[in-house]
């Protein structure tokens, strides 16, 4: 009954790879929507309409998850028994410790109205954004490594383990960027919240 009990990859009829053809996924999304959208079932009986709604919810939830590389990777990790849930943003990656300490001081100053911290924060933001780009590059090669490996193999497991590490670091950096944005421009970030 719950959407999570149906595997999104299976539902879309595509192989469970970390790297996938996004335009093909979109095409499949449109095809499935045309078949299952509740609009197509409004004059059918309640049972058929309910099934249409259930399936369309899976199609929409699945498309939303699979089209985004980060969400897709998180999903596949969970499905493969590598849940990322708990350790999301608690632990500071060791290589960032010093940076984060200084950043927090600057953030405090900015929040208390001290504009002199602005250049430092802007510089830090630059740094974190390029760090994120770097992680995305790592993820891409890890995706390829996993996709090329045999399923259930040691290589596959090792790849997923590394993907999880990269995702956690990415999430951490993402949160730092968000905090900096919030401090730099409180009005704008009140209207727009994080994606996750």
């Amino acid at each position: 009954m719950s959407s999570s009990s149906r595997n999104f990859y299976e539902f879309f009829g595509i192989e469970p790879k970390l790297d996938l053809d996004e335009s093909a996924l979109q095409k499949r999304f449109y095809e499935l929507s045309r078949v299952w959208h509740p609009d197509r079932f409004s004059r059918k009986g309640p049972e058929e309409s309910a099934r249409a709604m259930e399936n369309t919810a899976i199609i929409n939830d699945g498309y939303r998850t699979l089209r985004d590389p980060v969400r897709r990777a998180e999903y596949l990790l969970t499905e493969e028994g590598f849940p990322i849930g708990e350790q999301r943003s608690k632990d500071v990656p060791p290589e960032l410790l010093e940076e984060v300490f200084e950043l927090n001081m600057a953030l405090e100053e900015m929040r208390s109205g001290d504009e002199s911290a602005r250049p430092q924060l802007e510089e830090a933001r630059q740094k974190f954004v390029s760090m994120r780009t770097e992680i995305d590059g790592q993820l891409k090669s890890l995706f390829a490594k996993y996709d090329a490996s045999e399923s259930e193999s040691e290589t596959a497991k090792q790849a997923l383990h590394e993907v999880r590490g990269a995702l956690n670091k990415r999430r951490y950096v993402e949160n730092l960027i968000r905090d900096v944005d919030k401090a730099l421009n409180p009005a704008l970030s009140a209207a727009q919240t994080s994606e996750d």
């Binding site: 929507s33 609009d39 929409n60």
Partner: protein, 617 residues
């Protein structure tokens, strides 16, 4: 009277109508073989003003008739009630200063408006508008109408959508789908337009503002993002001008015009006329004859534009946020579609053109395009329109309250609907039987900054030690943008019962009671009509009898016969002013029987009289 029905040899199903239930005006449309078409009333009018008035006998009238009553009985007439749909008293305190709404004192989570001696909730008032539209459509189509698609602002939250759906039910309509107004407009435009591309729909109506960005792809209308303000519209411009005019007129020591509801309404009309003129003329006059003095105020385009610039600017902020959410820049927008009466204002058009760097489309009448689109959606539901499909999104994020008054987001804004999320809950105390889940809508992180939607009470949980229960709760936003919640005990697999307590809006029981009441009311109306008809009948038989009593035939009756007739007449008069039409009909029947031989005698003498002058061959 019998009518001919052409049988097309198919299982003919009644039409699904498309309704634009607007803040200021409402329209109803239907899909024809040639495309969507607005249905007119008996006088050929397409627009039904969203104004409702309560008559002294308690009946509600809507539309043009109510608009007239706005001037003569402003205290029993309301407009712009859409602004109150799905809202609580505290939400609208600011607006009440400018709108002549009279809120009943017992308003709690649902606003109640005082109209004459009765109070009405916003859905009941909207239902009166819907009923008027339904009547117009039935007359125009010559067949009953029972199913509808109704449009709502894209940025409407769950409670506002639910209130609209309730209004439909109260009007005797099965609401098959709520469609977002800008998306509906894109359907109307998309009929013979380019098949691919990204379009922005800028919808600035009487009371609400929406922006939606869609990707068109081979008949699929995929909404990428939407944003808006459900309390921003042409009304706000009217109020701006109204405030200036009221100040102008001043009070001259006496009571201000602001204290006089009728005066304010007449001034409002004058202000709206001037605003509309300013859309095509360089200047306009607000003029009003008030208590013998003539008020006149010339407003030129540049003053008008300076006045409304902040309002226009307020529409651009959601546009920028919407672009950001769609991960697009203005250059990515291929076309811009303008919807809503307020987009006739030249300043609005130039502002939109400047932002999106594209000349906006204004080919279709901005007042009609939403209703036309609703009819297209009705056609999609009925199967008449096969090649188009709308994939809409939820405008607001949905979350639940967690520790410390923080909202944990479950479904993010701009997720394609239907969308779902599943969350597991457990108990904190041994043997705990209930778990209360507080659901909110909004983008902020704290409960106090989000909109409370409802509290869901998971009841009769199996008593187990703390932390052992595992209830899986499924949150599903359906294609109407309305939340449905189901729960399951993951240990037993049993369906878990959930009681919904909406934070704003009517409960299911209240809606049921109102529907029942409207049935009762309809019965009462029917009884009254039958009583009036019986009286007409009684009048005519009494008149005929009196005439007969002066005839020759009356003299031929026995005294007993005359006595029976007199008694029967008296019996009619005795129940004539009562409320029992059946009783009156009985007495009429009795007089009918008593006068039968009298009538025959009269007939015979009439025939004899007629025969005297005629020769039969």
């Amino acid at each position: 009277m019998g009518t001919f029905q052409i049988d097309f040899g198919e299982d003919r199903q009644s039409k699904i109508v498309g309704i634009d239930l607007g803040t200021t005006n409402s329209l109803i449309a239907v899909m024809d073989l040639t495309g969507p078409r607005i249905l007119e009333d008996a006088e050929g009018r397409k627009i039904v003003p969203s104004v409702v008035s309560s008559l002294p006998d308690g009946r509600l009238v809507a539309g043009e008739a109510a608009r007239e009553l706005l001037l003569t009985s402003p205290e029993r007439t309301v407009y712009s009630v859409k602004r109150l749909m799905g809202r609580g008293v505290n939400d609208v305190r600011e607006e009440l200063k400018l709108f002549p709404f009279r809120i009943a004192s017992d308003s709690e989570s649902v606003i109640k408006l005082q109209l004459g001696s009765r109070t009405y909730t916003p859905p009941e008032i909207s239902a009166a508008v819907l009923r008027q539209l339904k009547d117009n459509a039935e007359a125009a189509l010559g067949e009953p109408v029972s199913q509808a698609v109704i449009t709502v602002p894209a940025y409407f939250n769950d409670a506002q959508r639910q209130a609209t759906k309730d209004a439909g039910r109260l009007a005797g309509l099965e609401v098959l789908r709520l469609v977002n107004e800008p998306t509906a407009a894109s359907l109307a435009y998309g009929l013979d337009k380019r098949k691919e591309g990204v379009i922005a729909v800028y919808d600035f109506g009487g009371g609400t503002f929406d922006i939606s960005i869609l990707r068109l792809h081979d008949g699929i209308f995929e909404v990428l993002a939407t944003n808006g303000d459900t309390h921003l519209g042409g009304d706000d411009i009217d109020n701006l001008l109204l405030r200036i005019a009221i100040e102008d007129i001043g009070s001259d020591g006496g009571p201000s015009i602001a204290e006089d509801p009728e005066g304010v309404q007449r001034l409002r009309r004058a202000v709206i006329a001037a605003k509309e003129t300013l859309s095509f003329a360089p200047e306009a006059k607000i003029s009003l004859d008030y208590k013998g003095t003539e008020y006149q105020r010339l407003i030129d385009r540049s003053l008008f534009e300076r006045l409304i610039a902040p309002i226009v600017e307020r529409t651009l902020e959601p546009c920028r946020a919407c672009l950001a959410d769609a991960k697009l820049t203005p250059e990515d927008i291929n076309e811009v579609v303008m919807v809503g009466g307020s987009t006739r204002i030249p300043l609005v058009r130039t502002a939109v053109e400047r932002l999106f760097k594209a000349k906006p489309h204004t080919e279709l009448n901005p007042d009609e395009v939403v209703a036309l689109g609703a009819a297209v959606q009705a056609g999609i539901l009925s199967g008449e329109v096969q090649d188009q499909l709308l994939l809409d999104v939820t405008p607001l994020s949905l979350g639940i309250e967690t520790m410390g008054g923080v909202v944990s987001k479950l479904i993010h804004r701009n997720s394609t609907i239907p969308a779902s999320a599943t969350e597991a809950f457990t108990t904190a105390v041994d043997g705990q039987r209930n778990v209360l889940i507080h659901v909110l809508q909004g983008e902020r992180e704290l409960v106090k900054d989000c909109r409370s939607l409802a509290r869901f009470d998971l009841k009769d949980i199996d008593p187990v030690p703390a932390g052992f229960a595992r209830i899986e709760v499924r949150f599903l936003i359906d294609a109407n943008g309305i939340l449905n919640v189901t729960a399951r005990d993951a240990r037993t697999g049993k369906e878990q019962s959930v009681e919904v307590k909406p934070s704003y809006g009517l409960s299911e029981e209240q809606v049921e009671a109102m529907i029942q009441e409207s049935f009762d009311r309809a019965e009462e109306d029917l009884r009254e009509r039958q009583m009036r008809e019986a009286r007409v009948e009684a009048d005519s038989i009494l008149l005929a009898t009196e005439k007969a009593q002066k005839s020759e035939a009356w003299a031929h009756l026995s005294p007993e016969e005359r006595g029976v007739i007199e008694k029967a007449k008296a019996a009619i008069q005795a129940v004539y002013n009562g409320s029992d039409y059946r009783l009156l009909n009985e007495k009429i029947e009795a007089l009918n029987r008593a006068t039968q031989s009298l009538a025959e005698n009269m007939m015979n003498s009439a025939v004899r009289g007629a025969l005297k002058g005629t020769k039969i061959d």
